[in-house]
């Protein structure tokens, strides 16, 4: 069997998800036994002109150049995997959407801001069709492996659609609300094995929201712990700003 050709691409992001892949260690060699990596800018000089089977895309689309580039990539690949919060939900880049783009440009670049044209941040699936999603900032490697294997096997991967709380409880963490601080676990999609709460921090919502949250039930929980709704909404604005369509 011919090895499928796989290419990695990055758009506006910190490239930490590529680094996560590099953190597979020697497992990378197992992976390279079944796929043929044809482009991976951060580790390879090689370029690939032809089509490929799987494109693994990191980062948000934040300018016209990016939008054009992702469309060309989509045309060249059979399967497109969006990985990392920037690609799947817009992530921290979405915070920009809360500002006037001209104003924020001037703040950062001063009078030469027009050299750096920018558009509203979009997740990849708002521009082209995405076949697989690997959520998280950064991606959770065990999930990335599952998705990649599913893509190579040609079977669907179902992103968990339950709250982070499910996994958090299974990890026997003391609930952050019981510790007196608020956490986005109850409305955020699981699949990360409650990574941040396992390490004593709160959930910041990097995997996006569950698709069918019980808003009334959630408000009950907030009331129970005296958490103001706007405090939660402000936290949601860190990763999930792109959900708010103008």
């Amino acid at each position: 069997m011919k090895k499928p050709k796989v290419a990695f691409f990055d758009f506006t992001c910190c490239e930490g998800c590529q680094l996560q892949v590099a953190n597979l260690g020697e497992e990378l060699l197992d992976l390279l036994g079944v796929i043929d990596v044809v482009e991976f800018r951060e580790v390879m000089s090689e370029k690939w002109e032809g089509d490929f089977d799987v494109a693994i895309v990191e980062g948000s689309i934040t300018d016209a150049h990016g939008a054009e580039r992702i469309k060309k990539i989509r045309e060249r690949c059979k399967v497109l995997i969006a990985y990392g919060s920037c690609a799947t939900i817009g992530g921290v880049n979405g915070m920009k959407n809360g500002f006037d783009l001209g104003e924020i440009g001037k703040y950062v670049y001063g009078s030469s801001y027009h050299f750096f044209p920018t558009e509203e941040t979009r997740p990849v699936h708002d521009v082209v069709k995405v076949d697989y999603f690997v959520n998280g900032c950064p991606i959770y490697l065990p999930e990335f492996k599952e998705v990649l294997k599913a893509a190579l096997q040609g079977i669907p991967y179902h992103v968990p659609d339950y709250a982070v709380c499910v996994e958090c409880r299974l990890n026997e963490n003391v609930c952050m609300y019981e510790k007196g601080v608020s956490c986005l676990g109850p409305v955020t999609r699981g699949g990360c094995n409650s990574w941040c709460v396992n390490n004593g921090n709160i959930c910041y919502g990097c995997r996006g929201m569950v698709s069918n949250p019980n808003q009334k039930g959630m408000k009950d929980v907030l009331t129970r712990y005296n958490v103001p709704l706007d405090q939660i909404m402000n936290k949601m604005g860190m990763y999930n700003r792109c959900r708010e369509k103008k």
């Binding site: 930490g16 953190n23 000089s45 390490n199």
Partner: protein, 441 residues
């Protein structure tokens, strides 16, 4: 020999971020030589405004996945400076450990995956799986083990979880210290093998005098986490005055800003630190330097990779010592923090301005926040090591190209690519963070 030549290396590979090298030679004279940065901007400093400073380390960690521990630490330092928080000794020790892990992880990535292929004459690390299987496996193993140790301390290396303003949300247990100790001492053999491998390489011969900038201190430690700002031209100033140290200016071809100090350009990073603070390196690191034949002051930028290996040896040994100290003294778990975004005001909040200056793998990183009385950020500024090196790289190229003009275009291209790669530039974070500052206006 007169010739015309135009080199345009688009999307320079094997460095983080998007950069182009442009070289124009007309009739044997170098007309233009520049490093274009074409990464789309991310406006982090703009986006930080209006957010509680307690979110700043989490958000600004996302500036760069490679240096996310460094950004977190610089951000924490700036925030604590603004808030007037003094970290405990234990916290400082653990932060030094965290920074060491980052340098270890980043340097090994650079040495093996970004630099060694050039020196071994390979396109990339991928074909080396066949030709240098043992070395590739060793590289992946070294990176993984450091990464595993960092995971124990910070939850994960890419965008660390446990390090927050005030300290750590989770402190390593006795078993964790033991595991980290085993992981690190287990790397000594691989360090030796790496040393042997690197000593077989012939690095390009090229020298250019420049100004070297890094943190300096009067203490005994190799200054990475704290210190004053110093340069090889004898300048020394407090981190509060970082703007006078960096003197940012705009060049038209790059979305990353350039910097200078006493000369046309200055350098930061492993080689600068090596040149500035050689005396404070761990004895084993000095020995490594001797075996690799590198001495301060070294003015061959290609040897930045060698300086990184010296620093690897230093950070490995220093990490082992820190862990051994913690094993002896025990960890005070009452310092474990539950803070969230400080909604309970457990950490007192005040109006203020603060600067963080930290030596991250590629050089000195500055974060600077102004916060209001509610702890909300009103102004933010970050200056990235790669930004500081860009101008120096261009000056290197301007000196290098005429020296090698008789070589083929491919050879020149490779020499230039290798030069840029030797600085291990993290272009992605340098453009994410561009900000015009109005110091003089």
């Amino acid at each position: 020999m007169h010739k015309d030549m135009s080199i345009n290396v688009e999307y320079l590979t094997r460095v983080e971020g998007h950069g182009n090298i442009v070289v124009n030679v007309r009739e044997g004279r170098l007309e233009e030589c520049r490093l274009d940065i074409i990464e789309s901007p991310r406006f982090f400093e703009g986006m930080l405004r209006g957010r509680p400073v307690f979110e700043a380390p989490h958000i600004s960690s996302r500036i760069c996945g490679i240096c996310s521990c460094g950004h977190t630490l610089a951000s924490i330092q700036a925030a604590e400076d603004a808030l007037g928080v003094t970290p405990t000794e234990q916290t400082i020790k653990l932060r030094r450990l965290m920074l060491n892990y980052e340098i270890l992880d980043s340097h090994i990535l650079h040495i093996y995956i970004l630099a060694v292929p050039d020196l071994a004459g390979a396109k990339s690390v991928i074909p080396m799986i066949e030709t240098h299987n043992k070395a590739v496996r060793r590289a992946l193993r070294m990176k993984k083990e450091v990464n595993n140790a960092c995971d124990i301390l910070t939850g994960r290396h890419v965008h660390p979880i446990t390090a927050i303003i005030g300290g750590f949300t989770k402190l390593p247990r006795t078993g964790d210290l033991k595991t980290m100790h085993n992981l690190l001492t287990g790397l000594r053999g691989d360090t030796e093998a790496t040393l042997e491998l690197v000593s077989t390489f012939n690095f390009p011969v090229f020298e250019r005098e420049t100004e070297y900038v890094s943190l300096v201190s009067d203490g005994p430690d190799y200054p990475l986490l704290s210190g004053d700002l110093g340069s090889s031209e004898g300048i020394r100033m407090n981190k509060k005055d970082y703007r006078s140290m960096t003197n940012e200016f705009i060049v038209p071809h790059s979305s990353a800003k350039h910097t200078k100090l006493s000369r046309d350009a200055y350098a930061v990073g492993a080689l600068s630190r090596f040149n500035m603070n050689y005396d404070k390196l761990h004895p084993l690191a000095k020995k490594t330097a001797e075996r690799l034949g590198i001495r301060p002051r070294c003015t061959n930028p290609y040897l930045n990779t060698v300086a990184q290996l010296v620093e690897w040896a230093h950070c490995l040994e220093e990490s082992i010592s820190i862990i051994e100290e913690l094993m002896r003294s025990g960890v005070d778990y009452s310092q474990e923090l539950v803070v969230g975004v400080n909604e309970q005001k457990k950490i007192p909040v005040r109006k203020g301005s603060g600067v963080g200056a930290v030596e991250v793998p590629r050089g000195t990183l500055y974060h600077n926040y102004d916060i209001d009385e509610n702890g909300v950020i009103v102004d933010a500024n970050c200056i990235i090591p790669t930004n500081q090196n860009l101008h120096n790289i261009e000056h290197d190229m301007e000196k290098l190209v005429p020296e090698i003009m008789d070589k083929s275009q491919d050879e020149i291209t490779l020499a230039l690519e290798m030069l840029v790669r030797a600085y291990d530039p993290c272009i992605s974070c340098s453009t994410h963070i561009l900000k015009v500052s109005f110091v003089n206006s």
